[in-house]
Symmetry: C2
Subunit: 187 residues, 2 copies
C-alpha cells in the first residue's frame, strides 16, 4: 500500500476535534500506540529515509516497513505491515539479524473517518499534539490529486501547506533529544 499523508502541529487539540467533526468526520476510535523503531546494520535508515517499526497497540503487535518519501510536499510512502503474535521473539529475530532499536515513540491517537480520509489527532509523548490526514491507495495512480485533496481539506482547518511537517515523530524525537543533550541546561 501507499500511504498518502500530511501532518501538522496542532495548538488546541480540543478545538481541532470540534472543527473536524463539524466538517463531517466520524470518530472511529482511540488507540494507545508505542512504536519502537529499528535501524539496520547495513544501511542507515536515517539517511535512506526508511523505517522499520514494531507497534504495540491495544495488546496487538504489528511489524511495519516504510519506504522513502515519494514526493517533496507530503509524507507519502510505501507502507507494508503484518500483525505478529510474539513481540519479544520478533525483537529477538531483529536483534539476531543485526537490527537495533533506536527509539520509542508513544502516543494517544484519536481516529476519525471522512470519505477516503483517515484523520488522526495524536498526542505524542514529549512532542505535543498533531493532526495527520491520510489516504491509502494501492498504486501511484492519481496520487498527486489525492495529495492536493488532503491539502484542500486541511486548509479548511486553518492549516497552511507551508506549515505541514514532513518529518516523522521518530526524527522529531531524535532531534529533540540531540538538542536537549547539547543544550546549556544539561551542562
Amino acid at each position: 500500500m501507499i500511504e498518502i499523508e500530511v501532518k501538522a502541529f496542532v495548538e488546541d487539540p480540543k478545538q481541532m476535534e470540534r472543527w473536524i467533526i463539524e466538517l463531517g468526520a466520524t470518530p472511529i476510535g482511540i488507540e494507545s500506540q508505542a512504536d519502537t523503531y529499528y535501524n539496520a546494520p547495513y544501511r542507515d535508515f536515517g539517511k535512506t529515509d526508511e523505517a522499520l517499526r514494531i507497534r504495540v497497540q491495544d495488546g496487538k503487535s504489528i511489524l511495519t516497513y516504510k519506504g522513502p518519501k515519494m514526493d517533496s510536499v507530503s509524507k507519502t510512502r510505501k507502507e507494508v505491515q503484518t500483525q505478529i503474535q510474539d513481540i519479544d521473539n520478533m525483537g529477538q529475530i531483529l536483534s539476531s539479524l543485526g537490527f537495533f532499536p533506536v527509539s520509542t515513540v508513544s502516543k494517544k491517537r484519536k481516529n476519525f473517518r471522512m470519505g477516503d480520509f483517515t484523520i488522526s489527532l495524536d498526542e505524542v509523548r514529549n512532542l505535543g499534539n498533531f493532526i495527520e490526514v491520510e489516504i491509502s491507495v494501492k498504486d501511484q495512480k492519481n496520487y498527486q490529486e489525492k495529495v492536493e485533496s488532503i491539502f484542500r481539506f486541511i486548509a479548511k482547518l486553518g492549516l497552511k501547506r507551508e506549515s505541514t511537517i514532513r518529518k516523522s515523530y521518530l526524527e522529531m524525537i531524535l532531534e529533540k533529544n540531540e538538542i536537549d543533550i547539547c543544550s546549556p541546561t544539561v551542562e
Copy 2:
C-alpha cells in the same frame, strides 16, 4: 530457545514409524510445511550458518531465525520464531529490507512425542525420508547430556551417530540442485 536436534536418513519410513511407536512414542499429528528460506543483503547465511525462514503450515505462517550450529556433532541451534498474520506482507517487508528468497523446502511431517523428545518423520520433496529427534531447552545447561540422550535413543532405532546428518534440508536441496545443474544429463 535452543533446539537440540539430530537428523538421519531413513530408508523405510513405515518400518521406522513402527519402531518409534514400539519404543513408546505417541503420534501427535501430521503437518504439511512449505519453508521459504531467505538470505541477507549484508552477510551470507550460507557462510554464517544462520537461517531466516517463513514457514507455511496448515494455513498458519511463522517467521523463524536460526543461529549457527553450536557444536560439531548435532544440529543444535538457537531458534526464535513468531507467528505472522500476513505472509505476503511479511515477504514484502523482507524484500524491502533487501532479503531475498533462496529456495523452498516442502515436506510432510509426522510428529511423535516421547518424554522430552519430539520425533519427526519427514518426507521431503526431492530429497527423501528423514527422522529428526529434537529437545527444546531454554539455555545451554546440560545440553551435551541431552545431545547424548538423543544419540542413545536413535541407536535403539539402528541409527549410528556417524550416519547422522548435520546439513539442513535447505543445504541439501541447494547442493542437489547444483549437482543437477552440473550433471552431464543437463548438457
